[in-house]
């Protein structure tokens, strides 16, 4: 059920970097001998604000760095952490690699899917939660390990998961 990643969705709105971001871009460019090397950092910059990378953002990043749009597409579709569609407020990332797998990761993931009524790879209709199945995130000694956006929650249990979902659901 791995989702195909062939293009990012259009947002329907033009994308432009803010003045602050443009200054940050200058600082980023100064750290590398080529403009192309700033691609991953720039994509992170986009995603830091919009949480995903729209087609318009791809075209703007390509323009800023002097790359073809095809080249930027090749990069964003290769790396799993670049979101090609809008994601929910809380991106629930469940590791199911070997150590977590040995410690009940799949059961935890299934529980979350059942509670939220969506499958891994999907977002709840209210836009609050996205479930993602990820590979090893180096939390093996605290298996099963998971991340919500940029934070680790480990070791996760069924009870802790229920609490976590309830808490996150309440956030505005």
């Amino acid at each position: 059920m791995k989702k195909l990643r062939y293009s990012s969705a259009p947002s329907g709105e033009p994308f432009a970097f803010t003045d602050g971001e443009s200054r940050e871009i200058e600082a980023i460019l100064a750290r590398y001998p080529t403009r192309q090397a700033a691609l991953l950092p720039l994509l992170w910059l986009v995603q830091a604000r919009t949480r995903w990378i729209s087609r318009e953002a791809v075209e703007e990043v390509a323009r800023v760095l002097g790359l073809t749009t095809a080249f930027v597409d090749g990069v964003i579709t290769f790396y799993t952490m670049y979101n090609l569609d809008p994601v929910g407020r809380h991106e629930l990332q469940f590791c199911t690699s070997i150590s977590c797998h040995l410690n009940g990761a799949e059961e935890l993931l299934a529980r979350c899917e059942q509670k939220l009524g969506i499958h891994a790879g999907e977002t709840t209709p209210d836009g609050k939660f996205t479930i993602t199945e990820v590979e090893c995130i180096a939390g093996c000694d605290r298996a099963p390990s998971m991340q919500v956006n940029d934070r680790y929650y480990e070791p996760m249990t069924a009870e802790k998961l229920d609490d976590l979902l309830a808490t996150l659901a309440k956030e505005a």
Binding site: T34, S97, I98, L102, C136, I137, A138
Partner: protein, 436 residues
């Protein structure tokens, strides 16, 4: 018996990340000594060679030797040091610990290595999932800059060093050094053809050394306490120094443990200072000694298995990233192999034919077998396909890693596969029922 913590000496201290604490504990003294005395850079590589330090990222290549591969005449090209903080091998979490709890140890190691090879700007390639790690390293770099350990004309020595953190975005293959360099350069993380090797043409076509986090963390220790001290630790002169072992799976106390190179595997699993044996009184069934890419060991094979490069190699596997994953008797080996095959099928970069086509094929067959839809020819097919993917068939050794679980499980637990195919269900499950 617990061993003296050297790499992990500071990780439990309060505010272990701060530079003040690091300096107070003797940190950056080795770096300052170098800035003061400006020794011949080649002498540092000599010291590291004498210490017998071998790469702790998985390959085990002698670090001091690697540093000497930088050409004497780089024809005006800058030399780069790139820290491999992509730690993505399933079962591995030691680099994460060092970065999150003792970042300055890592930075000081980088500084010394940079001096040794003639590098003025170094990159830390850190996996995207290490959000905290990247923040912590950037904070530490800022502190080091403020205190004059990084930047220009350090301590009036004329030496300059800039360290830049570069975040990856979710690709295990970027732990392979040439794929890492591709990713650093802003491309898809697809491994390169070798030759040329990174020491000759690496980042931005310039001479480059790529080192693992733990390897680099050993460098200040070697400079402070001496090569002889480092070499005196460990099982023999080919396997030296303190080692971080990542223990996970069905043990009582998973975690990162520091011990001399060559710690017996059984002690790591059962020792009181280490794993304290199997949870819920279960028995060991299989052990991965060095990450998902390492051949699995049977209970007989874990007897008398020193956890060092040569010791594990002698058992037909590899120490790799020293990620020891322990599976108990309730584990279905087919299911475990299938889980690992899923990992490799997701993480293949897709460039070359045998890996791109072979990994999904292995996953599909394993999935069928596990689900009870296996065919009689499937088991032989798994081995045959796996053997068409390794030993030079592919552009990089990802495929060799991918087939290790398949070959070791089909070879060592053939009855489980046969049972799945014949009875369309799991042998372990059947035994549990029979027992109950």
């Amino acid at each position: 018996m617990a061993y003296e913590r050297t790499l992990l000496a500071r990780i439990d201290k309060e505010n272990s990340r701060s530079i003040d604490g690091y300096v107070r504990d003797g940190g950056y003294q080795a770096w300052e000594k170098i800035l003061r005395e400006k020794p011949e850079p080649a002498s540092i590589a000599e010291t590291v060679k004498k210490a017998g330090l071998r790469g702790r990222g998985g390959a085990g290549f002698p670090t001091g030797v690697k540093w000497t591969f930088i050409p004497k005449d780089t024809k005006g090209k800058p030399i780069y040091l790139v820290l491999n903080a992509d730690e993505s091998e399933p079962g591995t979490f030691k680099d994460r610990l060092l970065i999150e709890r003792d970042p300055h140890l890592v930075l000081e190691g980088m500084a010394i290595a940079a001096y040794a090879i003639g590098c003025k700007r170094a990159y830390i390639y850190i996996r995207g999932e290490f959000w905290d790690g990247a923040r912590i390293l950037n904070d530490a770099i800022r502190e080091a800059n403020e205190k004059g350990y990084l930047g220009e004309n350090l301590k009036g020595s004329g030496v300059a060093l800039e360290i830049v953190v570069h975040r990856g975005a979710g690709a295990y293959i970027c732990g392979e050094e040439t794929a890492l360099l591709e990713s650093l350069e802003g491309k898809r993380g697809q491994p390169r053809v070798k030759p040329p090797f990174p020491a000759v043409s690496g980042a931005f076509a310039c001479p480059t050394i790529v080192n693992n986090v733990e390897t680099i963390a050993c460098v200040p220790l070697i400079m402070n306490r001496g090569a002889e001290w480092f070499a005196s630790i460990g099982r023999n002169e080919k396997n030296t120094g303190p080692k971080l072992y990542c223990l996970s799976g069905h043990v009582n106390r998973p975690g990162v443990y520091e011990a001399p190179m060559g710690l017996p595997l059984k002690e790591l699993i059962f020792g009181d200072a280490f794993g304290r044996g199997m949870r819920d009184g279960r028995k060991v069934k299989a052990v991965i000694p060095g990450g998902a890419s390492a051949a699995m060991l049977t209970p007989a094979e874990i007897e008398d298995c020193p956890l060092d490069f040569d010791g594990v190699a002698a058992k037909g596997s590899m120490l790799g990233s020293a990620a020891i994953v322990v599976m108990n008797e309730d584990t279905c080996m087919v299911r475990a192999a299938r889980n690992l095959a899923k990992f490799f099928a997701h993480e293949s970069c897709g460039q070359c034919t045998p890996c791109r086509e072979g990994c999904p094929w292995l996953l599909t067959v394993l999935t069928r077998i596990e689900a009870g839809a296996g065919r009689p020819e499937d088991i032989a097919l798994l081995s045959a396909v796996a053997k068409q993917m390794n030993n030079g068939m592919t552009l990089c050794v990802f495929a060799d890693a991918a087939v290790a679980p398949v070959l070791s499980t089909t070879g060592k637990w053939p009855d489980e596969y046969a049972y799945h195919v014949e009875h369309r269900r799991c042998l372990v499950g059947a035994r549990q029922e029979a027992f109950a």
